[in-house]
């Protein structure tokens, strides 16, 4: 099964592709600089579907060029960023967005780091509380001696032991 998959994968890379096309973003000019910025932002934040991790802005694949043209036409016709996003998601799914949409299925993604931070902070606070009430358990004399002989030197960390 592994072999079959690796074979299919290599086939995919070899032949499942669209031709390259000389492309440039210089063709897209807007009168309104805000529109130009929006256009640039939206194609930067969209994933090219046929290429390895490239944005629509960065890809030279023919499909990417077509989609850029389509988006350009939409925006010159007065549609906004959100319209473009809706258009693309309806056809290619959330996969096309580098900026995942906020919805119940992406809550784990968006709030996961926050949860991680809160859990970490709680554990930290608990540990700190414990630390500030526990008894002094510095290196015992025996341990200190062993450390000193191991390092064959007087310890610098003495200054921490007032």
């Amino acid at each position: 099964m592994m072999f079959v998959r690796s074979f299919l994968l290599s086939l995919f890379f070899l032949v499942f592709a669209t031709p390259l096309h000389a492309a440039t973003l210089a063709e897209y000019t807007f009168e309104d600089p805000q529109k130009a910025a929006d256009f640039r932002e939206v194609i930067d934040e969209m994933r090219c579907l046929v290429c390895q991790n490239e944005s629509l802005a960065g890809s030279n694949a023919e499909l990417a060029v077509d989609l850029r043209n389509e988006i350009f036409d939409m925006m010159t016709a007065g549609q906004g960023k959100d319209d473009v996003i809706r258009f693309m998601v309806a056809r290619y799914g959330d996969f096309v967005l580098y900026d995942p949409p906020m919805k119940p299925s992406t809550y784990p993604l968006w709030f996961g780091p926050l949860v991680l931070l809160i859990i970490g902070a709680l554990v930290l606070i608990r540990a700190l509380r414990k630390k500030s009430v526990t008894q002094e358990t510095e290196l015992s004399n025996d341990e200190q001696q062993r450390l000193d002989t191991l390092l064959k030197q007087p310890s610098d960390s003495k200054d921490a032991k007032k």
Binding site: M2, F3, R5, S6, L9, A22, A23, T24, L25, A26, E27, Y28, R40, E45, R47, Q52, N53, E54, S55, G93, D94, F95, V96, L97, Y98, D99, P100, S105, T106, L109, G112, P113, L116, L117, G120, A121, L124, A127, L128, K131, S132, T134, Q135, E136, T137, L139, E143, R146, L147, L150, L151, K152, Q153, P154, D156, S157, K158, D159, A160, K162
Partner: protein, 669 residues
């Protein structure tokens, strides 16, 4: 016949690694001196054979021996010699060989610099290194042998990926791998300590310089990769949140946390079990990165020829190495003693806060990188997680890190008076706040809060450390006192200052370039002039220019400001003969306060070309920052207390220098 010698050397190295993994470890338990003493010669033997292997492969490239599949795939007679050498690690098999070689080199370094360590510790550490080596050598021999032959022999090789034909990228992988592999040393020390049941301050003291060196390599390696992406990809970006980049950033973040937590463990004997865990994670994440890049589970710009069969092998390797070490951890860590008491306001607390933030950052990168995979596996729908998500998360969390830096580095071990902190830092705080607000004025950013925040934080890092240095030098006799401090036990302290200044520079660079960077996509005819940020870019046309193994279109730009010419830029677009993919070489006029950047797009006919022109303010600061961090790390490891051999002679002077001003001595990093 020669490539077979390389292959044979790999097998011999594996045999030695197996012995190295078993005999010294067994000796450490049975207290058999001769078994333990075997570890050092075994390591040298391994290094010898792996060096031989690497040389054989390099020689095959130099001699254009296309009967070796790997050379046929990545070599070429026209390839310049430098790239024939770098082709050794330019693809999967060879880069694995480099891993194994560097692992042997690090092991040898331990063997060399461990005279002061008790033999059982050395034996255990080198045994663990041997186990890791077994994993990599098996991986090489079973799934990725770089010496495999092919018949009939091709007349010409398919050449190294043109993207990798660049001096920057030639040395990027070795540096990066030095970092990844370097974390194996801290890992091995931790495992050895868990096995031996001795986790004390001396363990932390031994681990520290090794961790710092690995961290320095990783820092510089990552920065080099970022710099390369900047001038080679033609998009003017310096970080793309690609899975491969993320794979290097995770161990870096955890390694950074580890360095700070090791400081606490060494100085105060605290956080031991946490520090051990970080050491295990730093290396585990390096291994995980290898898996992500080579197994094909994620799509990435850089991904190596991925192969699920290799994926299965690495996964098993991960299970044994990471799963095994975490099991050992779960078994032994409960018996690790707690360490010294400290108050809520103390350096320990702030360093723990730093550890929390760095770990959360590493955790969120892991989440973001694996999310597409997790969502697919759970059938929650296919998603992509790209730069917008990562940027948002980092912008939310990293400011707290910058705040903590200032407070943490000035506070004292065990207990710090809140009043002391306020007294020390109030000036720094007011200055930073004022500076941040100043940058909001219409003259500078016109109310761009991100600029205010970034510049305020950078100023905070700088001023709080100035106060810190002033406080340290208060009791030292002026400049001479500073010099004596620097030649004595103060180097790790000044290393910290230097590295933290790097952080400030980094913040400035990122803030400036992301808020004031200008980009223009434009069509130009020869003779046209475009103006960006006050600079005139005059396009003089494109001419053809032959390279050794490529043909280039080279554009010529005259850059001038106020009518005065300041630079000539020659951006190139190369088409390599063998791998016909076009590659860009940006034309860059670099400066401390700004880069001017031209990337050649496409020929539009009639001499016209599409261009991307950029104005990138302060972008150099991002990479210079990494040099500061690296130098800081290097300075820190030259600190006297690590040069244990020489210490005996100067022990009396250490004692007086170290304890004359307790307050200052306490703020050793």
């Amino acid at each position: 016949m020669i490539p077979e010698i390389g292959h044979y050397a790999l097998i011999l190295a594996l045999s030695l690694a197996i012995i190295q993994a078993i005999i010294p470890l067994a000796g450490s338990y049975t207290n058999t001196h001769s078994w333990m003493a075997l570890s050092r010669p075994l390591v040298w033997g391994q290094l010898l054979f792996l060096t031989l292997s690497t040389i054989v492969l390099a020689n095959a490239f130099l001699a254009n021996d296309f009967s070796v599949i790997y050379v046929a795939q990545h070599g070429n007679t026209k390839l310049p010699d430098l790239y024939k050498i770098s082709a050794v690690w330019g693809a999967h098999e060879g880069s694995l060989l480099l891993w194994a070689f560097l692992l042997a080199a690090w092991s040898a370094a331990i063997a060399l610099f461990s005279r002061n360590l008790p033999l059982p510790v050395v034996a255990r550490v080198l045994s663990v290194m041997g186990m890791i080596s077994i994993g990599f050598l098996l991986f090489l021999l079973l799934t990725s042998n770089p010496f495999d032959r092919t018949f009939p022999v091709p007349f010409e090789g398919r050449e190294l990926n043109p993207m990798l034909q660049d001096p920057g990228l030639a040395i990027h992988p070795p540096l990066l791998y030095m970092g990844y592999v370097g974390f194996s040393v801290a890992f091995a020390f931790s495992i050895a300590a868990l096995l031996g049941g001795k986790l004390d301050a001396s363990w932390a003291r031994w681990s520290r310089p090794w961790t710092t060196v690995a961290w320095v390599f990783l820092t510089v390696g990552i920065a080099l990769g970022s710099w390369w992406a900047y001038y080679e990809l033609g998009w003017g970006g310096w970080w793309f949140w690609d899975p491969v980049e993320n794979a290097s950033l995770m161990p870096w973040l955890v390694g950074t946390a580890l360095m700070h937590s090791l400081a606490v463990t060494e100085k105060r004997g605290a956080f031991k079990s946490w520090t051990v865990l970080l050491a295990l994670f730093a290396f585990s994440l390096s291994l995980l990165g290898t898996f992500l890049v080579r197994s094909g589970v994620l799509t990435s710009v850089h991904s190596f020829a991925s192969d699920p069969e290799r994926g299965v092998f690495i996964l098993i390797f991960l299970l044994v190495a990471i799963g095994g070490s975490l099991m050992l951890y779960a078994w032994r860590a409960p018996y690790i003693s707690g360490g010294g008491r400290f108050d809520l306001i103390s350096r320990e607390t702030f360093l723990l806060g730093n550890n929390l933030l760095l770990s959360v950052l590493a955790g969120l990168i892991l989440l973001g990188t694996l999310a597409p995979l997790i969502y697919d596996a759970m059938e929650w729908g296919k998603i992509s997680v790209g730069f917008p998500w990562f940027n948002k998360m980092f912008v939310l969390l990293t400011p707290f890190l910058a705040l903590l830096i200032g407070v943490g580095s000035i506070s004292r071990w065990k207990h710090t008076d809140a009043a002391f902190l306020v007294k020390q830092l109030r000036v720094a705080f007011v200055v930073s706040l004022a500076f941040g607000l100043l940058t909001l004025l219409p003259l500078f950013s016109d109310g761009n809060l991100m600029v205010g925040l970034g510049m305020g934080l950078a100023m905070w890092v700088v001023t709080s450390h100035l106060v810190n240095v002033k406080e340290r030098l208060k009791h030292k006799a002026g400049f001479n006192g500073f010099l004596r401090d620097l030649s004595g036990g103060g180097r790790s302290y000044y290393g910290m200052i230097l590295a933290h200044m790097g952080v400030a520079m980094f913040i400035v660079g990122v803030t400036m370039v992301s808020n004031y960077g200008i980009e223009q996509d434009i069509r130009m005819s020869p003779g046209d002039t475009a103006n960006i940020a006050g600079y005139d870019f005059k396009f003089e046309g494109v001419s053809e220019f032959p390279g050794p193994n490529y043909n280039a279109h080279r554009g010529r730009f005259l850059i001038s400001k106020d009518g005065e010419q300041i630079a000539i830029l020659l951006p190139e677009k190369r088409t390599y003969f063998v791998q016909t993919r076009p590659m860009t070489e940006a034309g860059i006029d670099w400066g401390l306060t700004r880069d001017l950047y031209v990337s050649l797009g496409e020929s539009l006919g009639g001499g016209d070309w599409s261009m991307r022109l950029y104005y990138k303010p302060y972008i150099r600061w991002i990479w210079i920052a990494s040099i500061f961090m690296g130098l800081g790390g290097l300075l820190a490891i030259t600190d006297r207390r690590y040069r244990t051999a020489r210490k005996r002679a100067s022990s009396t002077s250490t004692l007086t220098a170290g304890s004359s001003t307790p307050a200052a001595a306490e703020s050793h990093s």
